[in-house]
């Protein structure tokens, strides 16, 4: 099997696994994955490196020995392979090089740090298991930095814009300070379940990388006009649902009515497919689209 075909097969297998995992009832222990044969094998990593955004961009290849996950030791993942390369920074043609710079944190897909483009698809590197992505000896895994954010170095990008956009949409509950003022509002359990799902957004940026409307903006002064993206629209929905949070609804809808707001969404629906937390992003975009429409009509008639 050629490398390209292997990658395609691995990607298909991974997609299938994700689909099964999302269907709680159908999930069976043995059907989601085809376990590779036990023992050691070598996986080739092709890594796009640079010394900064568009600076000295180059590819390097590394052969990394991995052992299949067996009883008592989990599968290798992309992070453990990058750790191996850091300890042995030698390319596959024997040239000494430097460890790969990358961003990582919790390694259990709750912090959002290690987003990368892996075999052409954006995802978290920690949950990218080698047994799934490269089950055979000699399989190739390609790692690239996200393209919608400036590269700091190698696979490490600067997602400051994402956090700045949360400021632009007043993504907080405006409480009256931290003194003891009693409990918050009661909440129906089904509403809590909706808010909880939205609150799992870890600002990883997968939805932004996959979005055709979200483009690289290197200059911070352009951030206020550029498309906010699915994650932030969904967060606006989250805060508008909470009674105290809703006191800033007007500010949020003003921001989402402005250039770069919800109407910039081109309805490609890539966001919801790549979200590692399976947040219903397209529902959020639709909900905020409706809120913005009502907000504009009110503004037109009431003038506020």
């Amino acid at each position: 099997m050629s490398n390209a075909a292997t990658i395609a097969a691995a990607a298909t297998a991974a997609t299938t696994a994700a689909t099964i995992a999302s269907t709680q009832t159908a999930m069976d222990a043995s059907t989601g994955r085809s376990k590779p044969p036990s023992g050691s094998r070598t996986v080739r990593f092709r890594i796009k490196r640079s010394d900064g955004h568009n600076k000295n961009v180059r590819w390097e290849e590394f052969d990394v020995p991995v052992t299949s996950g067996s009883e008592g030791s989990g599968s290798a993942n992309v992070i453990s392979c990058l750790q191996h390369i850091a300890a042995n920074p030698v390319t596959r043609d024997g040239r000494r090089t430097t460890p790969i710079a990358y961003d990582a944190g919790c390694l259990e897909e709750v912090c959002g740090s290690c987003t990368m483009v892996i075999n052409g698809k954006v995802r978290q590197a920690c949950s990218c298991l080698i047994d799934d992505y490269a089950p055979n000896n000699g399989d190739v895994i390609t790692l690239e930095p996200m393209t919608k954010f400036p590269t700091i170095r190698d696979l490490w990008v600067d997602r400051a814009r994402l956090f700045a956009t949360l400021k632009r949409t007043s993504a907080w509950v405006p409480i009256d300070g931290t003194y003891a003022l009693g409990a918050g509002p009661k909440e129906k359990p089904d509403e809590q379940q909706i808010r909880y799902k939205l609150s799992e957004c870890m600002s990883c940026g997968c939805c932004l990388e996959a979005c055709p409307q979200y483009t690289l903006e290197e200059d911070a002064k352009d951030w206020d006009k550029a498309f906010v993206g699915a994650a932030v629209i969904s967060q606006a929905r989250y805060f508008n649902m909470q009674p105290t949070g809703a006191t800033l609804k007007k500010e949020r809808l003003d921001a989402l009515s402005a250039p770069g707001g919800v109407s910039d969404c081109g309805n490609a629906q890539n966001c919801v497919q790549v979200c590692p937390k399976e947040i219903p992003l397209t529902e959020s975009i639709a909900a905020m689209g409706r809120q913005v429409t009502v907000h504009r009509i009110k503004q037109f008639f009431v003038g506020r």
Binding site: Q24, G72, S80
Partner: protein, 673 residues
Amino acid sequence: MAHPSNQQRVIVVGGGLAGLAGTVRVAEAGLAVDLFSLVPVKRSHSVCAQGGINACNEVARQQGYSEFEHFDETLYGGDFLQHQPPVYEMTHWAPKIIDLLDRMGVPFNRTSEGQRALRLFGGSLYKRTHFSGATTGQQLMYALDEQVRRYEAEGKVTKYEFWEFLRPIIDESDGRCIGIVAQDLRTMQVRAFRADAVVIATGGPGLVFGKSTNSVMCTGAAASRCYQHGVKYGNPEFIQVHPTAIPGADKLRLMSESARGEGGRVWVPAVKKDGQWAPHPTPGIDPRKLPTDQRWYILEEKYPAYGNIVPRDIATREIFAVCRDGFGVGGGNMVYLDLTHKPKDELERKLGGILEIYRKFVGEDPTELPMKIFPGVHYSMGGLWTTYTPGADYEQYKRGDASFDLRRAWDPAKRPACGLDQNADNNMMTNIDGLYAFGEVNYQFHGGTRLGANALLSCIFDGLFCGQSVVHFVTRRADDAAAQREQRIYDAGVAGEEEKIAALTSRSGDENPYVIAKDMGDLMTRESTVVKDEAGLQRALDGLAALNDRYERMSLADTSGWSNQNLTWARAVGDMLILADPILRGGLLRKESRGSHYRPDYPDRNDKDFLKTTIATFDPATKQAKISYEDVEIGLVRPRVRDYSKAKSKGTPSGSQSTKKNEPVGAGAGGAS
């Protein structure tokens, strides 16, 4: 309160729960905050906390629970090694902290009536743990992150993300901390920052043990750097090993205690022979096919009162022991954590976050098959030494002269002041004037073992309550602002760190920092976690000396001056090696068993000699710790034997006349031997 001077600033290092809560409190009081973090604060390690946050609540209260019970449980769980006034204050603030988080919009799970739902957790027979799915830490941290973002938008907080704290700046003329040196991890620029007070909130040192449940930035390097600059380190040997983690190639992933709180059962395949359990002849058999009489529920059998929700150190030792004795699943180092008897929809609603982690990383569905788990290093009870001012009524109560009884339920407004003095400026201040430590990085609250779901509470309590101390300190020193301190002190700090970087990048040798760190982790995990003894700890100290020699022969593969993670890791490894020393030395010298510190060569708790805080002080000449001991403030509840095979008795006031304090109690550590 004096109005803070506009020039005065506070530095907070670390953007997890403790750092964010402290930032909010200090910014709210009108002081400018500079917030430093290795990572964008929203990605801090607190996101990994899963199970929940403890607080007395109305349901539990009407069943006989109280803030005092929460206080007593925490002491009992911690094997009485804690200073009691801070724990008393924290547990009484807990319900108010939950209310505040609720107001901030945290999506706590709800009952059908819309009340906050509650679950059981380790070390308690009452439901007093509030939760948000199985990602409570993430949800609480996001709520605080949002509040900080609000202050940032108002210009009151300045974030320095992707910046690394390198050292506190201490003015030797009066010993006060007046700022920090930090490095931008992108440009590698080293800079000094002035501050009227500095809060260290940098979490635990899990990576000293190699693979742990901690995030990759939890090296303990920041704490180590403070320790190397004269901050005392308390109880370094008290490291919590969590009973239920799943092993991985890069880390150990936590499977929350809430799995057991919601009814999860720990068992191993076994058969009964002559009334005794023996390893199962086919231990790898499909667990679903095993009849009940071939399942040994190890915790339920030995600890009938608490069962699967015994504190973590006990569950860990039991799991460790059955695996050692050959009962492990498939003959390996694993036991079952079984949720398959619970309804699926309930599991998804209450534990969805961890089920998802297990499915993604193991590839099996815990609602169908029991999870396979093993203990992993998780939390440090020890940390930077901090002080506090007890409340006005504490001394009287300690003497036994008080006319009130803390065990009765108190109107919050009339509660005796036996906790902390809210008006003090030294709560959670280290021995360096103006340098504070909040959250896991300090040694308070948890003693010998931390009870599950008390960490989120202690982190937020530190930030909110002790954040006020920072405000008091800075406003009371308004005439002595850091802005007036001599520039040369700051320049010297920067020069010191630049020299260190130059030394690291110019070294030649054949050693590699990643390999040294791995070997350190293996050594520390082998000799200084679940079971420790004299010979092993001594071996580890010898091994550490060898690693330090290798560190001197280390060279960097990357010596560039741009976003050099090779350099920052190598520097942190040096700081981890230095912190490993007091962890081992404290363990070697503590010749008793207490909480998570288990020494089969000294299997009993020894209050006479060791109801004391271990204090490690860095000796720059040897780079080793000097160990001394300090009495623990136990003026509120008299220490008693910790025994989880039966329900906890009510705490007795220390001051009551019947028995004298510090009376030695035996065989308290419990657990398997």
